[in-house]
Each structure stands twice: as C-alpha cells, then as structure tokens.
C-alpha cells in the first residue's frame, strides 16, 4: 500500500535521540536516508519521493482497475480504453457489458475514491498546520457533520430537484457545511483574532449539536428512509453521473490548487503565530483563507461520498513520520498517499463480499489503524 520509494526494509529499533535535532542522521541504511525525515529538502529529494509515489499510485490504480465483480485483464483494459478514448467507436452503444462496467462504473468510482482521498488528506495537513494541533482534521471542525445534516434535511423533506447537473443532496450538504463553517467562525472570532483552541472547541460543540440533529432526523423518518440515510452516512463511493462528477472534479481541483499554493505559508504558520507575524505574514487573513478552502473542500467531498473518517487525521501523520514536516513535500505526498489509500480501501470494500459491498469507512479504519500503530511503535525515532 505504501510507496515503493524506498522505505527502509528493516526498521531497526533506534536508541532514543538525546537531543532532538532537526537534521540528525539516523543509522539506517545509508541509501534511503536522504529520502526521509531528517534530510534537508532538496529538489532531487522532492522529485525522488514524489516520483516514487506517483509511480506507486499508477501501479496501484492498474491493480485496482482489474479487480471487481469480474476480473478484467490488463490487455482487455488497454483495448477498451484505446477503443473508447482514442478510437472512433466512442459510442456507448457499441460497448458490451464488460466495457460499461470498466469505463462507466469502475473507472469513475476509482477516480472519485482517489480525489476524495486526496482532498481529505490535504485538508488534514492544512488544518493540522493551521491549528498546530495533531488532532485537527476536517471532521473536528464540524464541517462534515454540517454537510451531513444538510443532506439529512434534504432527505427528510424529500427534495429531489436537480440543479446544474448536481442533484439537490450534494448541494444541501454543501450548504450545511458552509453553515457549519460560518457558525464555527462566528463562535471563534473574538477581538478580531482567531484563537486556535476556541476554533477546535467550537468545532467539537458543533459536531455534537449536528450529530444530535442528524440522529433526531433519522429517528423521526420512516424506517426505510432512515435506513438509506444511515447507509449514506457510513460513506460510499458510488460515483455520480459524468456531468456531476466532472463538475465536482473541477471544483475540487481549483480548491486544491489554491490550497497547494499556500505551502510556504503553512510552513511558517506551523512555527507559530508570533514568528509568522514577525515574518510579515498577515496571519488572520491567511488563516481565514485556508480555513475557508478547507471547509469548502470538505463540504463538497462529504456531500458526495458521505462521512469517510480516518483519512484526514491519520494519513498526514503517517506521511509526516515518513518524510518530515516540510509542507512543500508533506502536502503533495500526503495528498497522493491519501488518494492511494482510499482507492485501495474502496477496492477492498467492493470486492471482499461480492455481490454486496461494505461501507468504505469501515475498511479505512480497519486498514489504517494498525498501520498507524505500527508507525508509532516501530518508528518512534521519526517523531520529531
């Protein structure tokens, strides 16, 4: 699951470092050392890690693409992709069932999984830097439960209209997420400043309120509909129709680009308020901006795929343990790893109990938890 970009093959237990120094060189196999935390970020190191991760992502995608209700070999995949994307017979009418399954179900679903993973992991990184709190993730701010509440309300009132190729449910979820953001923001703004702990606290309180409201709504719904609602809350990556998927992707892409442009600022913000301000960064405005983007990304992702937890909090941690805390590398690497992780988890969710499927959130927690524990226990030396 992890990158092939040279994790040390035998993590020998380390004597604890007496003085935490930033560029201490551990006594691992020399070749891999420069890739990992502790080494100074150089363009070549960046390229090596990102290149390795990208390669791993492509390989993983090829593996996942073959697996499903029916196995589709690489040759057949190449043939299908070539004929539909590059051939003249781009008609859906000429595709057989295998072709439809591959190109219209499996590929969009994997794509959605990857994008959702990328967004959740990136937002996790941003929020952890912003709040300087290892527990921060998209869910702590209550944005996700806000979005879920929006969807629950829409389902309760049976809103079934479509707007701009987006069905009403994602839209309502999105509005709910925005509402949550505004409320958190209003609650947390005191004296025109944004103290970190009050944001977290506001998020926790909102989470509680929204969860209660969601439970209330599901408890007064008709049993069949509350059943579907609960299933949706557990998270599923059933891809929407192409126009909606395209709209969502463009939207998320823009958000991600805006977020990725902030890497240097994140580096400085991670040092603390005062250093950042003395370095001439308008902390309040920047924080507000990153905060807003994070909330919008999360709202959109939650509205389309339900609540998939775990990725926003754990993937950034895991990647930080691997590559260090420099956001210029940490943010893109986390994004890739998050995307890969969710794609692989969803493949398991799709294939483990054919013909049924499992909520993907269960798989992410079961697969990621032990891995995180391994990182913490075996690679303590990496905790800077």
């Amino acid at each position: 699951m992890m990158s092939s970009a040279g994790r040390p093959t035998s993590p020998a237990p380390q004597p604890p470092l007496t003085s935490p120094s930033v560029s201490s060189t551990p006594t691992h196999t020399i070749g891999c050392d420069r890739l990992f935390q502790g080494a100074i970020l150089t363009p070549s190191r960046w390229c090596a890690i990102m290149g390795g991760l990208s390669l791993a992502a492509i390989l993983l995608a090829l593996v996942c693409l073959q697996l499903g209700t029916q196995y589709i070999g690489l040759g057949r995949i190449a043939q299908l992709v070539a004929s539909s994307f590059f051939g003249l017979s781009g008609d859906q009418e000429t595709l057989d069932t295998t072709g439809v399954i591959l190109l219209q179900v499996r590929l969009p679903r994997m794509f959605l999984g990857f994008v959702v993973g990328v967004c959740l992991a990136s937002v996790g990184v941003a929020l952890q830097a912003l709040l300087r709190n290892p527990l921060a993730d998209p869910y702590v701010l209550g944005v996700s439960s806000g979005a879920a509440l929006g969807v629950a309300v829409a389902v309760l009132f049976g809103i079934g209209t479509t707007l701009l190729a987006l069905s009403a449910l994602p839209l309502c979820g999105f509005l709910g997420g925005l509402l949550a953001l505004l409320v958190v923001y209003r609650m947390a703004v005191t004296y025109d400043r944004l103290p970190i702990h009050s944001v977290l606290l506001a998020g926790v309180i909102l989470n509680a309120i929204f969860s209660a409201l969601i439970m209330f709504i599901t408890s007064i719904m008709e049993p069949n509909r509350s059943f579907g609602m609960m299933a949706w809350l557990m998270g599923s990556l059933q891809a929407p129709a192409f126009p909606a998927l395209a709209a969502l992707s463009i939207y998320l892409f823009v958000g991600l680009v805006l977020l990725f442009k902030q890497v240097r600022v994140l580096n400085i913000l991670a040092l603390g308020e005062e250093p950042a301000r003395s370095l001439g960064i308008e902390t309040e405005r920047t924080k507000r901006f990153i905060f807003l983007i994070s909330a919008l990304l999360t709202g959109a992702v939650v509205s389309v795929s339900g609540m998939i937890g775990f990725i926003g909090m754990v993937i950034p941690h895991a990647v930080r343990l691997m590559v260090g805390a420099d956001h210029r590398l940490l943010l893109p690497a986390s994004a890739l790893v998050g995307g890969m992780f969710l794609m692989a988890a969803d493949t398991i969710a799709r294939t483990a109990f054919v013909p049924s499927e499992v909520p993907v959130g269960i798989i992410t927690a079961l697969a990621g938890g032990p891995f995180f524990v391994y990182l913490l226990v075996w690679r303590k030396d990496r905790l800077a």
Partner: protein, 356 residues
C-alpha cells in the same frame, strides 16, 4: 506504590502517613453497603432469577393478566410463543392493545379489533380509523404515553423494540408480543396468532384465506410466463436492495421475477453497480411511498446505463411502497403490483403504471 506496611513509614519516620491505614476499611464498608443495597434492589424488584436485560431468553415467569400458575403455561391453549421465543400465557382476551408498527395496526384492524386498539405509531395511516388513535412514537416509543393508555397487551415488531423499554414493560407486567416477518408465511402465522390471542380465529382464517386466494390467483397468471430478472431499488445512493431473508425477495419470486441479488448474504444488502450491470435486470422497480423514497431525479439517473435491458425496454417501474413494505394484510396488493410491473402482459385489463 508497592508499600503496604506501616512499618515502612515508621522506618522512614513519616508519621502522618500511618493515619492512612485507618482509612483502609472505608472501601470495605462502601463495598459492603453496595452489596447490601444491590441485594435489596434485586429482592425488591423480584428480578432474581430472570434477566430483564435480555428480552430474547425464554421466560419462565408469566406476566400481567397472563399471570396464571406458571405450570399452566405449558399446557393451556392460551399460551403463545412470539418470534423472539418468549412464552406468553394469556389468560383472558386483552381488551386494550397498543400496536407499535403500521403493519401490526393493519392486521389488528383486519381482524376487526377497532374497539380494542388504544394506541398506534405515528406512521399508522391505514385504515383511516387508525389515524384517529392516540400515537406513541415509532422507533423510540414513549414509555409514559404508552403506559398512560393502560394497555393489557403490546404488539411490537422485533427489530424496533428496544431492549430497555422491553425490560421495563416486562417489569411492569405489561405483556409484549414481538413479531418479525422474514417470509410471507410469517405474515399468515402472525395473523393466525393474533386471531387466537384476541379470540378472533374465525376472522383471522377469513383474512388469510382471502390472502392465499389472491396469491394463488396472481401466481397462476404469471406462472406460465418466462421469469424476468428484477432489481428492486430500496435506496439509490448507496444502492440498497432486497436479498434472501426478506419477504419482498420472496414476493418477487412469486410475482414471476428473479431477484438479481439472490446471491447476497443479507436481507437488505448494498449492491454494487458492477453487479447490476453483470446481472442485467430486465425490470427495475422503485417503491414509492407517500414521500418519495427514491427521488424521481435519481430514477432518471438510471437511464444512463444504456446496456441494461430494463433501460432499453423502458422497464423502470414504480410500485406503492406502503403496500409492499408493510408485512400485513395488504401485502397481496403489493404482490399484485409487483406482478403487474414484472409481467404487464398478464394483466391486459388494466395498464401498469408505466413511466415514460
């Protein structure tokens, strides 16, 4: 602290720590008081010997108006075993009954028990008389309003009965009869059981006979026709359908269809789109209730799967969710609807609700 002897403290000359020894009996006293208090509670509630926290275990003690002699329970015809395996000895016919599910309300009304029904859920809207009855909630029935109705019998669906409420009712000697429908035969036997409890066996027989007649009638119409592959969409996103272990799955078979989720391991499995495309259903059925369960826009979304024969032949059909999702006397109407949408050619007299 490995230290337990005061000798250690004395050796260290720390006198005040020796006082801590005098406090040592306090935990014992507290524990003792706790044990006594717990024993008192146990005796006072008479809970010794049965476990109120597990409603599914067989009960020896009989409750409520049912309290006859315990040994009577095993020999009289007035003993009933519900779907949770609990034995109820009903000495006399209950005169105030509360129903905790729409399907149960419909069964009771079908047996002509209008007078005896004193409470229903907020989803009980059929027959019309049901909506005038007092409401006690559904998934979380309100215990106080339930008790205020002074029921001498509560009929509840097994899946929605909460263990704590059940335990409380047992403790208060209010008999609860739990039922669960996982097949059509269950529905018939429920009606018969209720008929025996309320001394309405004759009407129960009449009701089930009419139902079986209707069932045979429908089956005979669709029997000679080729079976069609059916997808029943309970929920579109995520896609949830019915599988083996649900009576709707059985009804699809009776209506001349083959459920494409027959392989699934759960009564209400999540299904993957890949499976749907591979199985290629010829009819896709959307249950529609008073409120839209599957919004029409989502039904439109199904049209993009152009390889499905159901889409090619325009076989996206709606059925009434109320008739199908309530395992009660109206279930045959649901079966008729299913048969109509799966085999419209078998019902030339009336046109099936076909959506353009």
């Amino acid at each position: 602290m490995r230290v337990s002897s005061s000798g250690f403290f004395q050796a260290l000359g720390i006198f005040y720590l020796r006082a801590a020894r005098t406090l040592c009996f306090r935990p014992f006293v507290i524990t003792l008081v706790g044990i006594v208090w717990y024993a008192f509670l146990l005796c006072s509630t008479g809970a010794l010997g049965d476990s109120p926290e597990d409603p599914t275990v067989m009960k020896r003690r009989q409750q409520g108006i049912l309290t006859g002699m315990p040994f009577m329970a095993n020999i009289t015809p007035r003993t009933f075993v519900d779907d949770a395996g609990r034995k109820l000895y009903v000495a006399k016919v209950p005169s105030r009954v509360v129903s905790l599910a729409p399907s149960i309300t419909e069964m009771l009304f079908a047996l002509g028990l209008d007078e005896q029904i004193v409470g229903v859920t907020e989803f009980c809207d059929f027959p019309a008389a049901a909506s005038t009855k007092p409401k006690v909630g559904y998934a979380n029935p309100n215990l106080e309003s339930l008790l205020a109705l002074r029921p001498d019998m509560v009929i509840a669906p097994r899946e929605f009965s909460r263990a704590n409420i059940l335990a409380k009712l047992d403790e208060l000697k209010v008999p609860v009869f739990l039922i669960e429908a996982s097949s059509l035969e269950n529905i018939f036997s429920h009606i018969h059981q209720l008929g025996r409890i309320f001394d309405r066996s004759t009407s129960a027989h009449a009701v089930t006979l009419a139902m079986r007649r209707r069932m045979a009638e429908i089956s005979s119409l669709v029997e000679p026709l080729p079976r069609r592959r059916v997808l029943y969409v309970l929920n579109s996103r995520p896609l949830i359908t019915v599988g083996p272990g649900s009576y709707i799955h059985q009804m699809i078979g009776l209506a001349g269809g083959v459920n494409i989720a027959s392989e699934a391991s759960a009564p209400y499995p999540r299904l993957e789109m890949e499976t749907v495309l591979k199985e290629n259903p010829e009819v896709i059925i959307f249950p529609m209730g008073s409120v839209e369960t599957v919004p029409r826009s989502e039904q439109q979304e199904w049209r993009r799967w152009t390889t499905l024969s159901a889409v090619q032949q325009q076989h996206l059909r709606e059925v009434s969710a109320d008739a199908l999702n309530r395992p009660g006397p109206r279930v045959m109407e649901g079966l008729a609807q299913l048969a109509r949408v799966i085999h419209p050619e078998a019902f030339p007299s009336d046109t099936a609700p076909l959506r353009p």
